[in-house]
Symmetry: D2
Subunit: 316 residues, 4 copies
């Protein structure tokens, strides 16, 4: 379970919480332009936009949880169990395996409009990475500085939704979240007015009454609402520091403290890391559960014309 | 508006969020044993336990927001507007001004039991610090490693409540919060079971369904419930680092992002700082809104037999 | 568990739902003026105002659940388990047993002001009716056409609250309900306005969005809020029929369907009867769980100067 | 806005609340077998199953709000604004106007299975009844004693959903309601258990805590949840009287009191009538807003081989 957010303030910021009950050895990975992205059913991407993001590297392949490319286009995959349905090979389409989806889009597209053109002819094919790494049920958010999409491969086919909230969590399907948000249209940062019974004196005995009804639990439906509220109300400043800080405060509002959410296996799911990438500068900043210090990696600090992955172990 | 938490894991940890729409120039202040605490209506405390905590220093007097003494007793004052009523001078009691209350207790008491003995003969007198610093409506939490109290001076007199939650926020009076918590007794970290209609297939389509109903807004009532839930479920580890980290995750769950809560004056209230003191080691750790790095000050790093305040400016 | 409501429209109406898991053989009882109300610790009321209401008659004594007198003063007792504390005999006060409380007030008082004068010198004494009818934990609402009181005998003594809502349910103590209502001050009958994010199109996809957050369960806290909302918004007409009808619609909104609320003993609590008395005309109207037809009994249809109880069996 | 419920106890009962801000002169209408149902795009139904239900009669045509046929198959149309999309004439299908839909199905089908066969080849065509009676946006519930369907003609086409809840309200589309119900899987009639913090004494201070979280407002989403809860928990007895009574208690739990829901035009929407048909006996029972007495009309009390409509004016 996770939460991803895209936000435009001074610059465009994209990031997410990764909520899991275990770690897979992820690290910050820069993929330079000449790294060869082999594709299972398509020609390899031999040259492409450079990427930065969090990934597990398996067999020298970066399996990105989320990433941003040098043009600022960003994308994150989030858990979508029970709803994600990957399809059989379809010769009439571009067959992309789920683990190839992020590089396929970010390697080739400058913005959401270009991504849409690839999406309409794409088939998310049920090809796993390896026997050890089976298919993971995911859905995705793709964002540039103007707009966001949600992409879901479900039983009925590939669904592409405009995502005006710039927020993605997990189940159920995205259309539910879109409708559900209407119920929260009256939330506000300001105090409440007595419309219940003006003949009786009723007061804002606390600040914050305007947002009563905002859900506080850690289910994906409630995290969507809370992230959408906090993002919608967020006060962004003028400095990069303030903006990055505010972005992490949005993520904190939906982060899972360890112990609050238990998996059926008895393990606790919690927010392993939170990250925020300034999509213009390519500076990727993260915190981990036990290290709240913001650590940054700069996409442009390395030679982007290289062909080897550059990995930065997490500072925990 | 604020949230204070007392938690016992490996050690006892005490801390709070300070939520305000402005800063008063607070800093981390160590008051050594020989600093003279002048009292308006009582003899000065010339020698006393040493204190560490966040304070505004005015006229060379530390006005503590919260503090911990060298014996581990801790105390925090939180906003209590409309309910705090300070009384006229009462010759039959120990008249303590609200701004003297924290040093009065922490300077003299080792634990909550000793504090209770002072409280029963105390009158919170309506003496302000100065014309520039009028009376602030507050209530207080006093905690040691075993138990917590809430102290409220209201219209009906001085109320002393056992505080089994080890949590304090703001309005309304503490008895309301105690009763209110009963409504949340069914919240849990585990998945939900279908008790609604076993003939219909109903699933936990997301982790976290066991805590549906947890409020997510920033009112004092909702923050109390949320802090109580997250604290009750918190998974603490064995290392000091994990425990301090977890404590900040509890505080994060009730922290106010800037923009989400607007005061009637148009300003935004947000969490200026969060802090956590290991009451055994006297190490006081804090983060600020824009600096998520944990900074620490060690009570025992200075000469506690001195008489001068030691102030540490916040690293923002 | 029960809900009582006092409402002023064209006339003043007073009534309640009786929610119980069993019946005690209650019927509509008129007590005429010369019926002798024996008092356990005080002189009998030999002549008094006539009463109409629902009662169990035991040993020729009407034990009223609620009643209205010929002056229009009304009163209802509602379950208050765990909080009602009746006191030892107090020679300095008027000692009234709980089962005598309704006739004691309604027999002697024309309005709430007169009732207050009796209340200040009254002690609710822990005298049960008989071994077969032990003390029942209750609190009470007393209403005239202008105002309502809530009376609670608790550990700290006899509490008399102004009740601006004209609503009473059950636990917790009344001060909780009064504070709790502030959280619902923003509920309204009208559609909601998009204050969440005006840049995103959010609609009232259904009528009724202005009251989102109104609780729908059958706990006493939620029934209080719901009754207060529905009463505050109720549209009353000009005719007696419309007003009585509307009153029953308020009660229906908090009535317990059988099966929805289970007692620890396995039995179901549900709304045995609902009633509404026009306190000016003395016409008492009721429905039962299985008989939704409104049946009425007219206080003034009998000789009120008589001395014998008149009982009307419920038409079920 | 309305709520329809299908319930199987001793017999099968089907009924609904009609919530509107105005009346259209509806009455209980029996359509005997030889009444000719003219169809706009299909051959007339010259002989068909007899129907009973609430209808407006216009130009000697019964426009049913809901009805039950002599075989027990039942159907109700409910408001579906913004989502209902009726289609252009489609020569490859059976073109049925929305106002013909209920007689088309109930006139020809014995049960849901038979209805399904008609539905798959049906096109809900955008033909209005007359200039004075334009198209109404509706969706439908079709129920027999075993199962229920929901039928929605939306932008994407005609959707047929299994409806395990046997409940229908209004917006949004039915798939939302189905998913939404998962969030309420933990509601129960029994008391709550302390899973929040067993170290703190937390009590069921009121019966009904097991259903905390049940929404109480009058939006279509909340009414769906509430009707589903009350129906799921309903205790049905052995007698017809008890079962019909219980059915009306379910409807009461979601009925709109006048004043609580205001339309944008300033008028109040409220529950004009509630009805319940025993689909086996064909006895149709109703109450109106101001007449809570249950009035019944028996389908089999008339000559069903006739050809003229029989109308019973509502007893208000």
């Amino acid at each position: 379970m996770c939460t991803a957010v895209s936000f435009v303030s001074k610059d465009h910021y994209f990031g997410r919480n990764l909520d899991l009950d275990r770690s897979y050895g992820e690290c910050v990975v820069i993929t330079p332009r000449q790294f060869v992205f082999e594709m299972r059913h398509l020609e390899a991407l031999k040259t492409h936009y450079a990427l930065i993001g969090m990934a597990v590297v398996a067999d020298e392949t970066p399996l990105y949880y989320e990433a941003t490319n040098e043009k600022g286009l960003s994308m994150a995959g989030l858990n979508f169990p029970g709803n994600a349905v990957y399809k059989a090979y379809d010769a009439s389409k571009d067959n992309v395996a789920p683990f190839e989806f992020i590089p396929w889009i970010l390697g080739q597209c400058e913005d959401v409009q270009q991504a849409k053109r690839l999406l309409v002819k794409m088939n998310l094919v049920n090809t796993n990475f390896s026997d050890q790494l089976p298919l993971t049920p995911l859905h995705w958010i793709i964002s540039d500085s103007k707009t966001s999409l949600t992409v879901e491969s479900v039983k009925d086919g590939l669904k592409i939704y405009d995502n005006p909230w710039g927020v993605l969590t997990n189940n159920p399907t995205f259309d539910y979240h879109l409708i559900n948000m209407h119920q929260y249209m009256g939330l506000k940062e300001a105090n409440e007015v007595n419309t219940l019974n003006p003949e009786i004196e009723l007061n804002n005995i606390s600040l914050g009454f305007g947002a009563l009804g905002l859900p506080g639990d850690y289910s994906s439906i409630s995290r969507f609402v809370r992230a959408a509220y906090v993002k919608s109300k967020s006060f962004f400043g003028n400095s990069e520091k303030e903006n990055v800080s505010q972005f992490f405060h949005i993520l904190n509002a939906v982060a899972m403290p360890k112990g609050c959410v238990q998996c059926p296996n008895g393990e606790f799911e919690y927010t392993r890391y939170s990250c925020c990438c300034n999509t213009k500068t390519g500076i990727y900043t993260y915190t981990t559960y036990h290290n709240s210090t913001k650590n940054s990696v700069d996409l442009h600090s390395v030679n982007l014309n290289a062909s080897e992955l550059i990995c930065y172990e997490l500072i925990e």
